[in-house]
Amino acid sequence: MITAERKPFEEILELLEGKEKVLVAGCETCVAVCLTGGEKEAEILAAELSIKAKEDGRTLDVDHISAIRQCEWEYLDAIAEKVEQYPVVISMACGIGIQSMAERFPEKLVLPAVNTNMLGMPQEHAVWIERCGACGDCVLGVTGGICPIVRCSKSLLNGPCGGSHDGLCEVTGPNKEEIPCAWQLIHDKLIAQGRQDLLMKVTPPKDWSKSNSGGPRTMVKEEAKPV
């Protein structure tokens, strides 16, 4: 799933400086599941903004709403009536939802309330770990199902580097967390699967043109397009 983290309140206030009528728009899909931008969190942000405005003696008309999915036209239509009443929308959806909102309501000022950060997996309740880089050229078939593109700090296709020690990466995560060495995991998994021959194969340089180095990507399913 797509995960996101709420921007610092101060940054949100800066984005909304001088705005008097604001709608906080949550999304009930990925950002709700990662407890960042669902209806609950949208309501909390709206309350925070309201309290802050009252403290500052400012007038602020703030309310919240949530779309089932902010990244789909139909679900944006479903909240259109409410959105139409506000000149400014601060969206708690992922970057896709925020842009969909901006495109669907071109006359509105649509601002982000979250930082979309990764394609992560809920490892346990309230913990998400990056699992996919959406690189457009999946190598999981030869790496024991462990992604070296995002799980190796250096995206090595032929690892591990010399910094692998006791199963850990030389890099410490942004929150000071220990990072397992992806290539130690790949190594162990391939051996456990009896596929160690794959460890001796050199995976050639990656075709990054299938990632966004090739420019923004579009996917079309001709067979499914409306007739």
Partner: protein, 314 residues
């Protein structure tokens, strides 16, 4: 290939070809546009080594480019081994830089993954990692031997390259370290410099595995040595530098001496002893002395280890 069967004809390659026990040093370029610092370091190392590594934004800190510093080293009598990391350049820049370096007379290249960008002085920069070190070796080999760019396009004048790689015998998974070296040899590496060795028994065990695979006959192996300047440094490396294995008895041996000059003397003595010990290991073809910000110690250590004077090739 060059006429004489050599790939690049550099002093480093010719020293190996002549069967000498080879000595390389290391020069870290400064964090400023200071020609003289590079020149001084190069001069200090020129007489006691056969070639000098020029680090590439070492520990992810911006410094004089390894190509330029390598050129300066060459002007000052030291044959450069230009280091190239995958962290700061994509494949275009890597190929462009090697063509440029080669045109300027830099023939030895060391292909590295590079320390992670988060360790350096620009931790918010984007780490490139377009290709990894194994593919970097392959790309340079193809440029040299097949006269082709990574994309497959041909070039009229191929670079003359003597291609090196690094390996860490103390990294994990231990038994895979020899196999990864094998992959690098297959990709095209001509020589390997190891991570600095403090745990000699473990290194010897690694060399046993290297010999079991016959790799010592396919690649020139240089054992990495870092002289210890004091007990503080030893403890720091032991605790905080990942991939470096400093046994407790080494820390204790240095710490037993008084701080300052006596510890430094002991560090040099230890370095020289280790070199003598490692030189006896079958399959070790040379030593790479990395005296981090302590280049003046290298001539003394080389002297103590009986490596001087360096043979002159005609």
């Amino acid at each position: 290939m060059s006429d004489n069967g050599l790939k690049a004809g550099s002093n480093l390659e010719r020293m190996f070809a002549a069967g000498h026990f080879v000595v390389t040093g290391e020069c870290g370029p400064p964090k400023s546009a200071d020609y003289d610092i590079v020149a001084e370091k190069a001069k200090a190392l020129a007489s006691c080594t056969d070639a000098v590594n020029i680090t590439d934004n070492q520990t992810a800190v911006v410094r004089i480019a390894s190509m330029a510093a390598g050129y300066i080293a060459a002007q000052n009598g030291a044959e450069p081994i230009m280091q190239m990391t995958c962290r700061d350049r994509n494949r275009l820049a890597m190929q462009a830089d090697i063509l440029g370096a080669n045109a300027l007379g830099v023939y030895n290249i060391l292909c590295l993954t590079g320390d992670h960008i988060s360790f350096g002085n620009h931790p918010t920069a984007k780490g490139v990692h377009d290709i990894d070190s194994v593919n970097l070796i392959r790309m340079y080999k193809d440029m040299r031997d097949a006269k082709i760019f990574q994309c497959g396009e041909e070039m009229p004048v191929a670079p003359k390259l003597y291609i090196g790689c690094a390996e860490n015998p103390f990294g994990d998974p231990f038994e895979f370290r020899t196999l990864r070296l094998k992959k690098k040899i297959e990709a095209g590496a001509d020589f390997v410099q190891t991570q600095c060795i403090f745990n000699v028994p473990k290194f010897k065990k690694w060399m046993e595995m290297v010999r079991a695979e016959g790799l010592h006959q396919e690649i020139k192996i240089m054992a990495g040595i870092t002289p210890i300047k004091g007990a503080g440094m030893a403890r720091y490396m032991q605790k905080f530098v990942p991939g470096i294995d400093v046994p407790q008895e080494i820390v204790e041996r240095i710490a037993a001496k008084e701080k300052g000059a006596p510890q430094q003397e002991e560090g040099k003595k230890l370095g020289a002893e280790m070199i003598k010990d490692l030189a006896e290991v079958e399959g070790v073809h040379g030593v790479h002395i990395m005296a981090v910000e302590w280049e003046p110690a290298v001539p003394e250590i080389a002297e103590m280890a009986g490596l001087l004077p360096r043979p002159k090739l005609s």
